[in-house]
């Protein structure tokens, strides 16, 4: 009753509901806080565990009061706001007409990043990592976002790209530009091979089989040591050259180094900048390809299959071709990215291709908003930079990371940018641009 007087506009029913909600939250908090905050392991393993009841009391009380306050605030304030369009959507509606310009401006910014005064080695390197994930996100977007095939083993194609690139370079002595497309082709082949057995699977079942496929590839890489070097992997993969110019301080006889050709002093950062532009170019290639193929019949077929497979088949789409092309092309870009990864690192081993990589790439696609190209950029920035920034928080890093993911999914369940760009207009058609070949 005392509480009811404090908040006279809240009915007793609402109050009771809020109270119940707070009790449940407090109960959960108690169960979590008891082992996590209440018990402390002693520094000396011989001593017994220290019990800290006050920590538990504080945690439970905080959650109880916080939840009660939230529930009451929602009941009083929120109903009037609930029908409104969320702030971010309103903001998006404003910038949507400018999206092309924004994208071009963004690409220009990204392109001049290495020339900025603050851009040291670490920044450019980090930029390259973000770009790798953007590229992987765009590649997986073809499979998951467009074709609607939930793939939890995408990292397998990244690995196939990295290893086939490395083996081609080392055993056949190919250069980067010859090995890159072959690595993509190998990965695409593996994509199609995976596609066959899973043609009839959807949703959860597909996810399980692709997950298994990803692990299989990794385990094969570990065990086929005569070819792959086992868990040690393969080292000393050469850096690609820029039209024959190498990035070494002292080039081998008969070769010219980048700094010699331009008559500038040698700097290790040249190589980093070169690699940055290389991955930028590869990522842009992926983007342009995705945008173009969406407007072709095959791209539209992917989306139709995602939306309604039965209807798509009844209209004459061959689901086998549609699915295999999505798996194959999606895998191809992972293969390109894998080749770049190998050449950037200079060494590869199976521990770079664990399930967590697949999970991060999928998280980028889902958080970004399935099928949204711009969403992938935002999510990749978030997922790569956040752990980097959070490095200062040491052991709370993953907690922060997980919290951010949960927050995005609570506030934007369809992803950060769920806008879907239409692939055809009547204008295009009357100008004779459709259907494209």
């Amino acid at each position: 009753m005392a509480l009811a007087r404090a908040a006279p506009t809240v009915s007793s029913g609402v109050l009771r509901a809020a109270f119940g909600e707070a009790l449940v939250a407090a109960g959960i908090a108690f169960m979590l806080a008891l082992p996590l905050a209440g018990l402390r392991l002693p520094i000396n393993p011989m001593d017994s565990v220290i019990f800290r009841p006050w920590w538990v009391v504080v945690a439970v009380a905080t959650v109880f009061l916080g939840r009660l306050g939230l529930a009451l605030w929602r009941a009083r304030v929120a109903p009037s706001r609930r029908n409104g369009v969320p702030l971010l959507d309103r903001a998006l509606a404003y910038i949507l007409p400018w999206r092309r310009g924004i994208f071009v401006a963004f690409v220009l910014l990204v392109a001049i990043l290495p020339l900025m005064p603050f851009a040291d080695r670490r920044v450019i390197d980090l930029g390259a990592v973000v770009l790798i994930y953007v590229m992987l996100g765009w590649g997986l977007n073809i499979v998951v976002g467009l074709a609607g095939l939930l793939d939890l083993g995408y990292v397998a194609f990244y690995a196939v790209g990295a290893y086939s690139y490395t083996l081609l370079i080392i055993h056949l002595d190919l250069n980067f530009w010859a090995a890159l497309p072959l690595a993509g082709a190998f990965a695409a082949l593996f994509g199609v091979l995976l596609g066959f057995p899973v043609l009839r699977l959807r949703g959860d079942y597909l996810a399980i089989v692709t997950l298994g496929f990803g692990e299989m590839i990794r385990i094969i890489l570990i065990n086929w040591s005569s070819l792959t070097g086992g868990s040690e992997g393969i080292t000393s993969i050469p850096t690609p050259t820029l039209f024959g110019l190498t990035f070494t301080a002292v080039p081998a006889p008969g070769e010219t180094a980048f700094h010699q050709f331009f008559g500038i002093p040698f700097a290790g950062v040249h190589r980093i900048i070169f690699l940055y532009y290389l991955i930028l170019a590869l990522a842009l290639l992926t983007h342009v390809f995705s945008m173009r193929i969406r407007r072709l019949p095959v791209g539209r077929a992917w989306e139709a299959l995602r939306e309604d497979e039965i209807a798509a088949r009844a209209l004459g789409l061959n689901p086998v071709m549609v699915k295999l092309s999505a798996f194959g092309l999606g895998a191809m870009f992972a293969g390109f990215a894998g080749a770049f990864f190998a050449t950037r690192q200079g060494f590869i081993n199976p521990s770079s291709f664990t399930f967590i990589e697949s999970a991060i790439i999928l998280a980028i696609v889902v958080l970004g908003g399935m099928g949204s190209q711009m969403g992938v950029i935002l999510a990749a920035l978030l997922l790569v930079l956040l752990p980097e920034v959070a490095r200062d928080f040491a052991e709370f890093r993953m907690l922060l990371f997980g919290g951010a993911m949960v927050a995005v999914m609570v506030w934007r369940p369809r992803g950060l940018l769920a806008h879907r760009e239409p692939t055809a207009t009547l204008g295009d058609l009357s100008r004779g641009r459709e259907p494209a070949p």
Partner: protein, 243 residues
């Protein structure tokens, strides 16, 4: 009508869902230029028959001939590319794709040239779709979605149009509009139509001939007008149902 060539011939076709037999030896004919209606209660197997004609699920027994060719065991996309288009039960338009994108998917079964003419033709038939060209399919009204489903099927330039309950869940005035267009399509363009309906009154009124399906078997057949006048049909399918 018997002078026209036989376009679709279904002979003793059976279909199963696992162990459940949904069609128990169905036979029927559709001649070129006809509207043939199949009526039957909920669960009689009408949708199954349309899907089986399209090979999904494939017929377990019997034969299906389209334009003289045996399509019984063919893959769905091949059957469709021969010139059979379907507007499936529940419309099944692609909800996140725009009207024009839905229509372009429909062109899969046709040659790639002349898409603009096809578009102009379906926009003539359903002018409201032209106004909604860039709207997402899922945001259309039920009637508009049904028109889109029919238009999408027509974009494949079919010789036989299969319609599964186009009146499902629509207001009477919209139902009349859609049946009007179906009749027009048949009269003006000579489109052969196989129409499945629970709404027996409108469907039989429109049809040249009709069949009645019950528990997976054809139990009656006749001209549209003949069936409409039949006492048993009136009792079983029209009682209180004249929309």
């Amino acid at each position: 009508m018997s002078a026209a060539p036989l376009l679709l011939s279904v002979r003793a076709v059976e279909a199963f869902y696992g162990p459940v037999r949904a069609l128990g030896g169905v036979s029927l004919d559709v001649f070129e230029g006809e509207i043939v209606t199949l009526i039957g209660a909920n669960g009689a197997g009408k949708s199954t028959l349309l899907m089986t004609i399209c090979g999904n699920p494939a017929a377990a027994a019997g034969t299906i001939l389209f334009d003289g060719a045996d399509i019984t065991a063919e893959a769905t996309h091949r059957i469709v590319r021969r010139g059979i288009a379907q507007s499936p039960e529940g419309r099944r338009i692609f909800p996140h794709m725009t009207v024009i994108e839905n229509l372009l998917i429909g062109t899969t079964a046709a040659a790639t040239d002349g898409v603009e003419d096809d578009l102009a033709r379906v926009f003539d038939l359903f002018p409201v779709l032209k106004e909604r060209t860039h709207q997402r399919g899922g945001t259309l009204s039920g009637g508009e979605q049904q028109m889109l489903a029919i238009a999408r099927a027509l974009m494949g330039r079919p010789r036989l149009l299969l319609l599964d309950e186009p009146s499902l869940g629509l207001a009477p005035i919209v139902v009349r509009r859609i049946f009007g267009v179906i009749g027009e399509l048949n009269r003006a363009q000579g489109m052969t139509i196989f129409l499945v309906e629970q709404n027996a009154y409108h469907a039989l009124a429109l049809a040249h001939r009709g069949y009645v399906l019950a528990n997976g078997e054809i139990v009656m057949q006749g001209t549209g007008a003949g069936l409409l006048a039949d006492e048993r049909i009136r009792a079983a399918y029209l009682e209180g149902g004249i929309a």
